[in-house]
């Protein structure tokens, strides 16, 4: 039976072409782009009534790699919710609707000398809600914190259409249960985020990227890297040989390491000296806009890995953690954000083996695309999946929000 926009409680003008929302080759029966949070609530309320399955959409950056849902009735496009609701630079906080691209937010706060503490591949497309729901991050994950660390409060719509709000817009707040934090990483399976308040940062006065071409032995020497975590670089990313072309004019070695320094000028100079003492002279030094441009290219990289992309988390903080696996062929594709221990790589058919090898060295698989490439993810004590299931039943009692897309 055909589904109409009216069935979803919306005016016909909110309908959009379902062809643009295919997942794993499956097209939804209907696609809508509501213009307000109340309209989002209407859609979910109607879906709960009619037992429809809904997939929330932001910019589709992460969904591009998702599998096909078993059932796919409605694509819920949130990109018309794109207003900055409140921005008070002197409070260092911002409240915005969740369909706004993070590049727009970053430009808004940059105009006032501030920094958006969120990162994602393709920031011009990635939406605020998508970044939060997917727990997306980038090279500066340790310095900025993850999305959960920056989220002060949120409005969201539960699977039964209830519009709720927890937290607030002030930087300190322990009033009530922080349900908004639990939604970070929930991939739209618990609730649909419609508005969020963030804690911002002042923009650093100086940014520099030092690029080092590393032979294998240099990568593996813990003593070389030891001083670096204590000076807290903004980012330190190791790129496998495959990514050599990302930076021009650097000798072709086993890996490239980029140390990103973002702070006031005096400290950036001192940090540079400490880094060069430890690692030798850089092959390349990029300043300010050039350093930002390189960081943007590095941030996008994990999204370009294919066909099978694995994401690992680890407690490691320096590139020396890669020493035991440096000779593996898949390391040529690696993107390792050292301070936060996040590792991405492409494996082709060898995913299971890579997971096993890396698992022996402290790296835990936390995401894979396609989702069935390298199951299972981290095993959890039985009580945890049971708790997650109770939470889903509590917040989405009719199973409206699709789970299948993300299961592995």
């Amino acid at each position: 039976m055909d589904l109409s926009t009216h069935d979803l409680g919306l005016d016909a003008a909110r309908a959009v072409d379902p062809a643009g929302y295919a997942l794993g080759g499956r097209t939804p029966r209907h696609a809508v782009r509501p213009a307000s949070r109340d309209e989002v609530a209407q859609v979910l309320s109607a879906a709960a009534r009619d037992r429809l399955v809904v997939v929330p959409w932001g910019g589709g950056v992460q969904l591009a790699r998702a599998g096909a849902p078993a059932r796919y009735d409605v694509a819920l496009d949130l990109r018309a919710l794109d207003r900055v609701v409140e921005y008070e630079p002197e409070d260092l906080t911002l409240t915005a609707e969740c369909g706004i691209p993070i590049a727009t937010l970053a430009a808004t706060v940059a105009a006032r000398g501030q920094e958006l503490p969120l990162e994602s591949p393709h920031p011009a497309r990635a939406t605020l809600g998508g970044v939060l729901a997917m727990n997306a991050s980038g090279p500066r994950r340790r310095q900025l914190g993850g999305p959960r660390d920056r989220l002060l409060g949120a409005r969201f719509v539960l699977g039964d259409g209830t519009l709720a709000h927890t937290g607030g817009k002030v930087v300190k707040n322990v009033a009530g249960h922080a349900v908004h934090r639990m939604l970070c990483g929930s991939r739209g399976t618990l609730a649909v985020l419609v508005e969020a308040s963030l804690k911002l940062l002042p923009a650093p006065a100086r940014r520099r990227a030092l690029v080092f071409a590393l032979p294998g032995w240099a990568l593996a020497d813990p003593a070389r890297w030891a001083p670096i975590p204590r000076i807290e670089p903004a980012w330190l990313t190791v790129l496998g040989r495959e990514h050599h072309g990302l930076v021009g004019g650097v000798p072709d070695t086993a890996a490239i390491a980029v140390v990103g320094l973002e702070d006031d000028g005096a400290w950036v100079d001192r940090q540079s000296a400490i880094v060069c003492d430890a690692l030798g002279a850089p092959a390349l030094t990029l300043e300010d806009a050039d350093a930002i441009a390189l960081r943007a290219r590095v941030t996008d990289l994990p999204q370009a890995l294919g066909p099978v992309c694995l994401r690992f988390a680890s407690p490691h903080v320096t590139p020396a953690a890669l020493a035991p696996v440096a000779d593996q062929t898949w390391m040529a594709s690696a993107v390792f954000h050292a301070p936060s221990g996040g590792l991405w790589l492409a494996t082709g058919t060898g995913a299971a083996e890579a997971v096993a090898v890396l698992g022996a060295h402290g790296f835990t698989l936390i995401d894979a695309s396609p989702a069935d490439a390298a199951a299972p993810l981290v095993p959890e004590a039985a009580a945890v999946p049971e708790l997650r299931a109770r939470l889903r039943a509590a917040l989405d009692p009719h199973g409206v929000l699709d789970r299948g897309t993300w299961s592995s």
Binding site: P89, E90, D91, L92, N135, S137, R141, R142, R148, D149, L158, T162, A164, H165, T166, K169, V170, V171, K172, N173, V174, A175, G176, H177, A178, V179, R181, M182, L183, G185, S186, T189, L201, P202, A226, P229, R230, I231, D263, A266, W267, R270, A313, S314, P315, V317, S340, I366, D367, L377, V378, E380, A381, A382, V384, L387, R388, L391, A394, L395
Partner: protein
């Protein structure tokens, strides 16, 4: 309900004789946390030594249908550790060890009963520290900090407890022990640790915590400014932030407060100024000069009278001692007072202060203000004669009005103390019914039988809020009423 000899024998079999307290004197001690005006007697106090023992107690309580109220050091000011429905008080004080430290990767596993300051003291030789520093840090525990998502003066720059917790072992309401998060910053799926942190012991009992450690800043500068008007002090705070400087701490005390501290401790605080602003910056030595100059310039532009920059660690400690003794100084007045923990957006601080002073003046009551200005966290005190019922009633009404003002300004009714028992009625003013019902749904998913710290946070209306019935049926909320002795060692704000 009271426990039988066989109940106690079962508990002793689980924990040993020294792990179970049931004498009148012991039960009296655990009737309340630092919100001593609300007292509820537990049936038993247990002192487990391990995650397994905590889990065994929770399973035992489930089997017997009795509530469990976890407790750290009991420094909470909102009644969060007060056993509203009796049952078991589960004290984590015997679980106070550092389990392991990884200095290279900068994290540590600790037990929840570890005192906050001891953690940083023990890490000092490694050049590392645990950033959250609630004013109670000499006594309060890391587990209690997690339960209230504690802040402290330095959370302006470094964030609150939640930002420094990587993972935890949590005993859930069914008595299973699970690990949420871990040593790595990221984990798959919804962030359960994110909602457990700050849940005041209602969603689980944290029995091991993986804390993120920070390198100790190489340099610190502590500055004290005085202002002819408190509004100018507040504007200086906004100007510093707007200039792109995030100090480690920015604290304001009003004249009422500085005079009381100075009469007592004689540490050289300016007493003739309407407001005193303490600004501390920290970080690499290379960055200090420029930031100090900029902060001083902003203070001058806003009319500061005197400028004092701590010459050494001793002077810095003296300045902070003044700030941290505010509560004790109020106690010396021999008056009762209500203390609040409201938050307003930083840019509305000056307006909030004027409103507070106006409310107190109209009722002819004295008020003191000491607050974490950098993050808009106010701790107004309304003083009253404890022998004058009308004055106390007026002070209570003003307390409620102040929290309503925080809500109207877009702030919060608690910045760091938590809701506990004390602020439940205000939750209905800050949140809509659907918001509270959503929190209740989450709480029920974690704890279907409402066994963990029942009666807290949510303002009644059935389910886990049932214990709050008394609050709805006419017992007035008593926002932070204190009748302190002259005692500089706490409570802390």
């Amino acid at each position: 309900m009271s426990f039988t000899a066989s109940d106690l024998a079962e508990l002793r079999a689980l924990l040993g004789d020294d792990g179970v307290l049931a004498t009148d004197a012991a039960l009296f001690t655990y009737e309340a946390d630092a919100l001593t005006i609300e007292r509820f007697r537990p049936d038993v106090v247990v002192l487990p030594r391990s995650t397994d023992e905590v889990a065994a107690i929770v399973r035992w309580a489930n089997a017997h249908g009795v509530p469990v109220t976890p407790r750290g050091a009991g420094t909470g000011l909102a009644g969060g550790a007060t056993p509203m429905q009796g049952g078991v008080v589960l004290s984590l004080n015997r679980m106070g060890q550092i389990v392991s430290v990884d200095p290279d990767r900068m994290f540590a596993w600790v037990q929840p009963g570890l005192v906050n300051l001891q953690l940083s003291q023990q890490l000092a030789p490694l050049g590392l520290y645990f950033a959250p520093d609630p004013a109670s840090q000499q006594v309060s525990t890391v587990g209690g900090n997690v339960a209230t998502n504690a802040g402290g003066p330095h959370c302006l720059k470094y964030g609150v407890t939640f930002n420094h917790i990587l993972g935890a072992v949590v005993v859930l309401a069914d008595g299973s022990a699970v690990r949420l998060g871990g040593e790595a910053p990221d984990a798959p799926n919804d962030d359960l640790l994110g909602v457990v942190c700050g849940s005041e012991g209602t969603l689980g009992i944290v029995t091991e915590i993986c804390v993120r450690l920070m390198p100790k800043p190489a340099a610190v500068e502590t500055m004290l400014f005085d202002f002819p008007s408190i509004v100018d002090a507040c504007r200086t705070v906004s100007a510093v932030i707007a200039a792109g400087i995030v100090p480690a701490a920015m604290e304001i005390m009003d004249q009422h407060t500085t005079q009381l501290i100075e009469e007592w401790l004689h540490i050289g605080l300016p007493t003739d100024a309407a407001g005193v602003l303490l600004i501390e910056i920290d970080g690499p030595a290379e960055s200090m000069r420029g930031q100090v100059d900029a902060v001083v310039a902003h203070a001058k532009a806003h009319g500061t009278g005197s400028i004092r920059i701590a010459k050494d660690a001793a002077e810095r400690a003296a300045i902070w001692k003044g700030r941290k003794s505010a509560f004790g100084a109020y106690g010396r007045t021999q008056k009762g007072f209500y203390i609040m923990d409201g938050v307003v957006p930083r840019t509305r601080l000056a307006e909030a202060l004027e409103t507070i002073v106006g409310l107190a003046d109209r009722a002819q009551l004295a008020s003191g203000n000491v607050f974490h200005a950098g993050d808009g966290n106010l701790h107004p005190h309304i003083l009253f004669d404890p022998d004058d019922p009308k004055a106390q009633a007026d002070a209570l009404e003003i307390s409620h009005e102040i929290l309503r003002m925080c809500i109207r300004m877009g702030g919060a009714i608690s910045g760091e103390h938590g809701v506990g028992i004390e602020k439940r009625p205000m939750m209905s003013e800050m949140f809509a019914e659907a918001d509270l019902a959503t929190m209740e749904r989450v709480r029920r998913a974690f704890d279907p039988a409402c066994r963990l710290n029942p009666g807290k946070i949510l303002p009644g209306g059935g389910g886990c809020g049932e214990g709050a019935r008394s609050a709805r049926e006419g017992i007035p909320a008593r926002i932070g009423a204190m009748f302190p002795r002259e005692d500089a060692e706490g409570p802390w704000i």
